[in-house]
């Protein structure tokens, strides 16, 4: 920590003293580099942190610069007044460009944003107000009392301050609640929404952040060069900006800054061979993508891992999974007073002609542990997806404590107290275990992010509270040793436990566990049973899908059996096991298999009677 502060202080001193050692052209280049750094931070926030492929960053840059230019030269605004409006205009553009992200992601979004950037370029090249291909010159000098900004040396300090503040704000966002939600959304938007993150709002936030930085860069550019023309905002420059972010490391804002400054300097240095420089960028981008996808920022981590792997044999105290500390028992709710916690009424779910759930009704009382069993493909997970808001039932109703939640979104359900785990672990792979927990601990509505702008101390206070709770939870689930590792590198059993801990971090009233015992060994299954009971005793109602019949029999008070999308039996475990329908459909008796073998058709038998909807099959049978 001390080392860090020392390093930071040294960098500030160097940055402060830098102009004294530079010629007038060199300081100009540095000023340009800082502008690209701001652009790259915005790009990193959208692409690397939030996973939104935004290829319109250069258009945000352009909007900022052009609005300043137009307002100052055409409308006679002062530089700073124009800047304020320019920032507003850029954010508005960001919101506009971000709208498609609500409907599409990945390459779709990349192409649409690139297309919009191209449209912007087309507009500034042809409109009269933008001066067409010639651009706008004669932007007035920005004024600051007591500082002559016509000196590029002094302009440098203005840029430096903006950049440092910009980076600091960016890092503040990334490392606190909002950034965690953005990163969670990037890693797995589905799981993030199940943890209470409002995905559409977060996507728009990502674009607003990107445009904010783009706009600031544009304003600084207009003040520095005092001339704007279309070629600065070309698609080629967009791709160079992309190269900066990739080479620097898209997931690290500092990496983005390093990439931007480094590449700008190299580009300047190679300006006589600009085509070769371009060739070089391209090659480096390709190599980076294949060999070092985390960019320069990821290199220290790769080296550290390699060193650690080599020295593993020496090993210090080994990280281990510690036992689970049970929750305090809370008094059982006076049931009947409240009625069922979860009430599923005649739910049907169709997928393009395939009926996954067929008239399923099921109600779970508060404080119950309910098992749902059934063959693979019988609709169990679909039922969970309907309850947790991922799917909307084709017909029927889902009620939570009497409230109709059939059409409620996953993030709202999460805030209402529904938490779940996933059959195929959906942990946020690039977040640490602690951060995974923190994402779920954050129970605030996403729109409270206004505090980032208006009241940052509030964010910090909440952050401290969440971190204390996260530590408690990690200790409770025995995960403290793994708190700062990414979950992907941990054994399967531990990952399963992290998922349960993460779900419990949301302090749910209803916990849905989708095959929690899958892949666990006997001992781990025992621990799981212990955990689930304690969770129930703490006042959380549990519904679990499970194949391990031993676990279901010992854990659940009530069991519902699904087959082919229908409820075929419901009752206590012994009742269910004795039900003929269940024996037929699921458990089967081994005698039957024996019979089947004995009855196996000899070679001369007719074709196997595989049921088929085709009409000719009945002919087959008739013959």
């Amino acid at each position: 920590m001390k080392l860090r502060i020392g390093g930071l202080a040294a960098m500030i001193v160097v940055a402060w003293l830098l102009p004294y050692g530079l010629g007038s052209y060199a300081i100009h280049v540095v000023n340009i580099a800082l502008i690209y750094a701001l652009l790259a931070i915005g790009m990193g926030l959208a692409m690397g942190i939030s996973g939104q492929i935004n290829l319109a960053q250069v258009a945000f840059f352009g909007v900022g610069a052009y609005v300043v230019a137009i307002l100052t030269t055409h409308n006679g605004y002062g530089f700073w007044a124009a800047s304020a409006l320019a920032l507003l205009a850029t954010v508005a553009t960001g919101l506009f460009v971000g709208v498609p992200a609500l409907r599409m992601q990945s390459h779709y979004l990349g192409i649409v944003t690139l297309g919009l950037a191209l449209g912007f370029l087309n507009w500034i090249t042809n409109a009269t107000i933008t001066g067409g291909a010639d651009g706008i010159s004669g932007i007035p000098l920005p004024t600051l009392p007591g500082i002559d900004l016509s000196s590029e040396y002094l302009y440098y300090y203005v840029e430096l301050v903006v950049c440092v503040l910009g980076l600091a704000f960016g890092l503040f966002v990334v490392r606190t609640a909002l950034g965690r939600r953005l990163r969670a959304m990037r890693d797995d938007s589905l799981a993030a929404s199940a943890m209470g993150a409002q995905i559409p709002l977060l996507r728009m936030t990502a674009f607003v952040l990107a445009s904010l930085y783009g706009g600031m860069a544009g304003i600084l550019y207009a003040g520095l060069i005092r001339y704007v023309a279309p070629e600065t905002f070309s698609i080629a420059n967009m791709f160079i900006l992309l190269a900066m972010v990739i080479i620097g490391g898209r997931r690290s804002l500092v990496g983005c800054v390093v990439g931007a400054i480094g590449l700008t300097l190299i580009r300047e240095w190679l300006s006589d061979f600009s085509t070769y420089a371009q060739l070089g960028y391209g090659v480096v981008v390709v190599l980076m993508v294949v060999f070092a996808p985390t960019g320069l920022a990821g290199v220290p981590g790769l080296v550290r891992d390699a060193v650690r792997r080599r020295s593993r044999t020496s090993g210090g105290p080994r990280a281990e999974l510690r036992p689970f500390t049970p929750y305090e028992v809370s008094p059982p709710p006076d049931d009947q007073a409240t009625g069922p916690l979860l009430d599923i009424r005649a739910v049907t779910k169709d997928f393009r002609g395939l009926r996954a759930l067929d008239d399923v009704s099921l109600s779970v009382l508060p404080g119950e542990i309910r098992g749902i069993v059934g063959p693979n493909g019988s609709g169990k997970t679909t039922l969970f997806n309907v309850v947790s808001g991922f799917y909307r039932a084709t017909s029927g109703q889902v009620r939570l404590s009497g409230r109709d939640t059939t059409a409620t979104r996953p993030y709202t359900l999460s805030l209402l107290g529904v938490a779940r785990t996933f059959q195929n672990l959906r942990l946020f792979s690039h977040l640490t275990v602690r951060e995974n927990i923190l994402v779920a601990l954050d129970r605030t509505r996403t729109h409270t992010i206004w505090r980032y702008v208006l009241w940052p101390p509030g964010v910090l206070r909440q952050e401290r509270r969440l971190r204390t709770q996260a530590q408690e939870l990690l200790d409770r689930f025995g995960l403290a040793d793994f708190a700062d590792t990414p979950p992907g590198s941990l054994p399967y059993g531990i990952q399963r436990r992290i998922e349960i801990a993460r779900a419990m971090a949301a302090r749910p009233r209803l916990l849905l566990l989708d095959e929690p015992a899958a892949g666990l060994n006997g001992e781990e299954v025992g621990q799981l049973a212990h955990m689930v009971r304690s969770i129930r005793d703490s006042g959380t109602t549990v519904v679990l899908i499970e194949h391990n019949m031993g676990l279901v029999m010992s854990l659940c008070e009530q069991v519902t059996v699904l087959a082919g999308g229908r409820v075929i039996a419901e009752g206590t475990p012994p009742e269910v096991v004795a039900s003929p329908a269940v024996i037929e459909a699921y458990l089967g008796d081994s005698e039957m298999a024996q019979d089947a073998r004995e009855a196996a058709p000899p070679l001369t038998a007719t074709t196997p009677h595989l049921p088929s909807p085709s009409p000719s099959n009945s002919e087959e049978a008739a013959r």
Binding site: G51, I53, V99, P100, R103, M104, Q105, S106, H107, Y108, G110, I111, V112, L114, G115, L116, L118, G119, F120, L121, N122, W123, T125, N126, A127, I235, A236, F239, I240, L242, A243, I246, T275, Y276, Q278, L279, Y281, G282, V283, V284, V285, V286, M288, V289, V290, P293
Partner: protein, 289 residues
Amino acid sequence: MQETLQTLVGGLSLGAVYALVAMGFSLVYRTMGLVNFAHADIAMIGAYAASTFYLTSKMPFVVAMVVAIVVTGAIGLVIERVLRPLENKDFDLMLIGTIGFGIVLQAVAILIWGTTGRAVPSPVRSAPLDVFGVRVRTYDLLVMAVAAFAVIGLAWFLARTKRGAAMQAVAMDHEAATAVGINVGRSNALAFSIGAGLAALAGGLVGPMLYVDASLGGALGIKGFAAAMLGGFGSIPGAVVGGLAIGVLDSYAAGHFQGYSVLVTFLVFTAAIMIRPMGVFGERTVSRA
């Protein structure tokens, strides 16, 4: 009426070129799940190569095209080989990798052919035809015919040949394809080089219609991508429909909004794709998005 028809005809010939770009793009996407942002620049290289062989080496236009297709097909093989480690893994990284290749190809084009660009004379010199008062350039007809042949040829290859079926199978399920004995890597390489060849065909054909320079890829490519999206990513008929739609939209916007045609085209495109993100023919086989 006359004017509308004229716009339509102009749009269709350019649309045929967009359709070719979109088709190559879709083929690669469909078989490899790779969004090839370098596709447009491959088309640009194709345009340059074809014009060079045609103008400088004095080859007949057809021969120049064939040579250009072979050259770019080889470039496609190289790109596929380099990015192979990322196949079926990180989608976004692969996308950025192809952007990197695009930057490289543009730089290479500038190194070889310079920054000035060139105008390519039409290889068909006969006067425009007059069909019910609408002027139709013979070269435009040629372009549409070639594009139609390419579509039919590709459709035939995919539907009727063993290798074509295998290529589709790889796209739908590379693991099951491996299990039945298909060499997935080789199939992908072939798909990629066919895609690159189609790009070169588009580039070569568009040469005499537009001005050939290093930024040709940008304009051609983004509209080609837009065409592919509009028609439905990965769908061959979608590429054709989308290409023609973008071509007509483009030509209409150029007629009515002059300088702002690109802006209008992309605003309309964005609105359309917002309404129907899966495009006209949807994404039938690969669901990666």
